[in-house]
């Protein structure tokens, strides 16, 4: 009897241990999968984005742009972005283009249609506002996963809770940021930035949709998100429509030729 009890105990112990082990992937795995989900789904993609910027006085401004994105290689590193502005009226036709590099500064260009000028833009602090919104350049193109130390704080039913601390704290304005990552899909549902213990900046995914890719692939995509920043005041909402993946973009689209003459088949 005693032997039976002990064996039962041992088996239960082992089962519990193995069940726990199956649940939690390594920190690196979580980080990689989340990074891939957020920035590298599909070979390429396009979306029409409506950006609503609310300032601290409650006044709103709207920007609308079409963003084309292409991965170069399959190591979740190099990317190309082409952002064509539809609204507001005085920015219509302006194009912003980025060649994202990992490990060195991105290359950026701005095209002004009235002057037919292609301007190469100096690499600014990645944490400055993207076109006047609360999103930084880094939020749009992705923060390198090697720039932070990652720690799996907790794993709940629904979320991996990841805490990230910058390796170079002088280069950023936060002390750390915490991500709530949806376990089955690796979508970061919420990100909170804190400084000296106070959360001052939050990004939250408000809507997720299934978008089809090639070969019957289905990509979970955040189609509405909001970013609140207490340092700046106010918030910015992004709404994505006409999202498509694997549309066959080629590297030559992300060149000067298409700044002066936009690829109309992709820009609505």
């Amino acid at each position: 009897m005693k032997k039976l009890l002990c064996s039962l105990c041992a088996i239960a112990f082992a089962v519990v241990l193995s069940a726990a082990a199956q649940d939690t992937p390594s920190v690196d795995e979580v980080v990689k999968k989340t990074n891939h989900q957020a920035y590298y789904q599909g070979l390429d993609g396009k979306a029409r984005v409506k950006m609503t910027i609310t300032d601290k006085q409650g006044r709103t401004r709207t920007k609308e742009f079409t963003i084309l994105r292409m991965d170069v290689g399959d190591t979740d590193a190099e990317q190309r972005f082409y952002v064509y502005f539809h609204e507001p009226a005085d920015e219509r036709g302006t194009v912003f283009m980025v060649h994202k590099h990992v490990g060195k500064d991105d290359d950026r260009w701005l095209y002004l249609p009235a002057l037919d000028v292609v301007k190469q833009i100096a690499a600014s602090d990645e944490r400055t506002s993207f076109v006047g919104s609360h999103f930084f350049y880094e939020d749009v193109s992705g923060r390198g996963i090697d720039e932070d130390n990652h720690e799996l704080l907790d794993v709940t039913d629904t979320y991996y809770i990841l805490k990230n601390t910058p390796k170079n704290p002088d280069a950023v304005e936060f002390d750390s940021y915490t991500m709530w990552i949806h376990k089955p899909t690796f979508i970061p549902v919420k990100v909170e930035f804190e400084k000296a213990g106070t959360v001052y900046r939050k990004v939250q995914a408000l809507k997720v949709e299934d978008i089809a890719g090639k070969d019957d692939a289905k990509y979970k995509t955040v189609t509405k998100s909001v970013l609140t920043d207490d340092n700046i005041g106010g918030n910015t909402t992004l709404e994505y429509s006409s999202v498509q993946y694997d549309i066959g973009l080629t590297e030559d689209i992300f060149t000067e030729r298409y700044l002066r003459n936009p690829p109309r088949e992709y820009i609505e």
């Binding site: 009897m1 009890l5 105990c9 239960a12 112990f13 089962v15 519990v16 241990l17 193995s18 069940a19 649940d23 409506k50 910027i53 300032d55 006044r59 709103t60 401004r61 709207t62 609204e87 507001p88 009226a89 005085d90 500064d105 290359d107 009235a114 002057l115 037919d116 190469q120 100096a122 690499a123 600014s124 602090d125 506002s129 076109v131 907790d154 709940t156 039913d157 629904t158 949806h182 376990k183 089955p184 899909t185 979508i187 549902v189 919420k190 939250q204 809507k207 949709e209 299934d210 979970k220 189609t223 509405k224 106010g234 709404e239 429509s241 030559d252 000067e256 030729r257 003459n261 109309r264």
Partner: protein, 520 residues
């Protein structure tokens, strides 16, 4: 009371059937041990299974909630080990949704309806702006009848039409000019874009063209400029005048080639005295509205034409370009004596070829560029014709970087080196007319600061020539009031000791201006 409770408590503390276990009572022992075992198991589970959710866990957005995949727990552990989410955080099937985000209405939110619709809306295919702008000289200019240098209302209309792979775009300005007291029409763009082959782009018609790496300084950009608009406070877009030309672009991996053919020579909209007085070196006085420049420009179609070429490619992260131009000096590059009835002197545009190159790319945290050009004044190869510009060598070096949050600075050094300077200085009228140095040095500084969520732009662009002893400052502020309205104000400040230097000669035309624009 107290005693009774404590008795009960002590009774509960000890397993039923208090007293040492008796081996002969196996059932009791088993029951006892099972309880202990169960307790131990639960304790173990709490240790190794994930912790209970914390109070500030975010609610799942619609689109993820139904995907809740509970990890397959092995048999025997069942559901009692899955901690339930605390109330208010939303359970697996229906998190507390923000208003208006219900899952069923997800499709409806795709059609983005604008929140605010202006009552009067132009049709979708028509865009443009309406603006009012005024500028005043800050001092008297004896050669100009009025103090107002700018006073206009402008309506710009733009539209485009696409058929398969051909695009037609048009932009036209309708101007009511209060200074010259006239209505005006400026067709800014009427161009057809066609891609006959994958790597060939053709653009035909009226269009603004720009290339080269300089900022407000041009070496290899020989496309027409509108200096008058630039100096009186019109939007900087008007610095470039449109050309009637055909542009062919051939793009491939080795090098990209752009060729522009302008069938009829298009000179700059240069300073003629219409609004801004200029220095007349022959008469040694400021000439203005009453003695506007008489000029004679080559104008025969397909004979007096211009060719411009640019070949470029990326080398690493730098862009290298080579340029060629065959045409004429764009601003009057020469003078001709004519009969006194026509004012004695007539400006001419002698033949010009330009050969150049540029390199631009990231250096450190900023963008650096270098550009060179050789101006071959074909009608004065030896430099001894005083009435025709000498050949020149021009070089430009620039650097731009962000120096503080949302604050960018850019500097440039520019040199115009006159070839055959000795010949220039030795001519008959040389001592009377010769006013230019062999080397003209110009420095520029651009400071730009963005404020208020990038809705307010403050900038200062300064030209300074130590060799000419003159300067030109362009302070400017622009504020985006909302998605449609923009207001701006600025100045054009000319300084210089000499009446004859390039910027100094305009010092009576220092002005301030303001404008507001509604864009749709």
């Amino acid at each position: 009371m107290g005693g009774r409770t404590s008795d009960n408590a002590s009774a509960l503390a000890e397993p039923s059937g208090s007293g040492p276990r008796r081996l002969e009572n196996n059932t009791v022992v088993l029951a006892n041990n099972t309880v202990v075992l169960a307790l131990a198991l639960v304790a173990l589970c709490t240790l190794f299974l994930p912790n209970i959710a914390t109070a500030d866990e975010p609610a799942l957005p619609p689109g993820l909630a139904e995907e809740e995949a509970t990890p397959a727990l092995p048999e025997g552990l069942g559901d009692e080990t899955t901690p339930s989410l605390p109330e208010g955080l939303g359970d697996d099937t229906g998190p507390a949704l923000p208003p208006g985000l219900a899952e069923e209405s997800a499709a409806a939110t795709d059609t983005a309806e604008p929140e605010k619709q202006p009552k009067l809306r132009p049709p979708d295919w028509l865009h443009g702006f309406w603006e009012v702008r005024g500028g005043l000289r800050t001092q008297d200019d004896p050669a100009q009848p009025r103090d107002a240098i700018l006073g206009e209302t402008r309506l710009q209309l733009k539209t485009e039409k696409t058929w398969n792979d051909i695009v037609l775009e048009g932009t036209a300005d309708f101007i009511g000019d209060g200074v010259l007291e006239e209505g005006d029409f400026d067709l800014r763009r009427l161009r057809l874009t066609w891609r006959p082959l994958d790597n060939l782009d053709i653009r035909l018609g009226r269009q603004v063209l720009t290339w080269g790496t300089g900022d407000m300084l041009f070496i290899n950009d020989l496309f027409p400029k509108d200096w008058q608009s630039f100096f009186i406070g019109r939007d900087v877009e008007y610095l470039k005048a449109p050309s009637d030309a055909v542009k062919v672009g051939w793009f491939n991996d080795i090098a990209n080639l752009e060729l522009v053919y302008t069938p009829q020579f298009e000179h700059d909209r240069f300073i003629s005295g219409e609004r801004i007085s200029y220095w007349n070196p022959l008469f040694r006085n400021f000439a203005g509205r009453d003695s506007q420049v008489h000029y004679n420009a080559p104008s025969t179609w397909f004979e007096d034409d211009e060719w411009a070429l640019r070949v470029y490619r990326n080398i690493g992260s730098y862009q290298l370009a080579l340029y060629g131009y065959s045409g004429y000096w764009k601003s009057p590059g020469g003078q001709k004596l004519v009969r006194p009835a026509r004012g004695l002197m007539q400006a001419t545009f002698p033949k010009l070829n330009v050969y150049g190159a540029s390199l631009r790319g990231m250096v450190g945290k900023g963008i650096a560029n270098i550009e060179i050009g050789y101006y071959d004044s074909r009608q004065d190869p030896g430099g001894d014709n005083l009435f025709v510009n000498n050949s020149e060598f021009r070089v430009l070096v620039g650097y731009e970087r962000e120096i503080a949050k949302e604050f960018t600075a850019a500097v440039q050094y520019y040199l115009e080196h006159m070839m055959d300077y000795d010949a220039y200085g030795n001519g008959l009228l040389a001592r009377y007319m010769a006013t230019r140095d062999k080397d003209r040095h110009v420095f520029t500084l651009r400071l730009t600061k963005l404020l208020m969520n990038q809705n307010l732009t403050l900038s200062l662009f300064t030209y300074y020539s130590p060799s000419d002893g003159d300067a030109y400052l362009r302070p400017h502020a622009k504020y985006k009031v909302n998605d449609h309205w923009t207001v701006e104000a600025g100045g054009n400040v000319f300084m210089g000791e000499s009446d004859a230097s390039f910027f100094g000669q305009f010092r009576n035309n220092t002005n301030v201006y303001a404008g507001m624009r509604y864009a749709f």
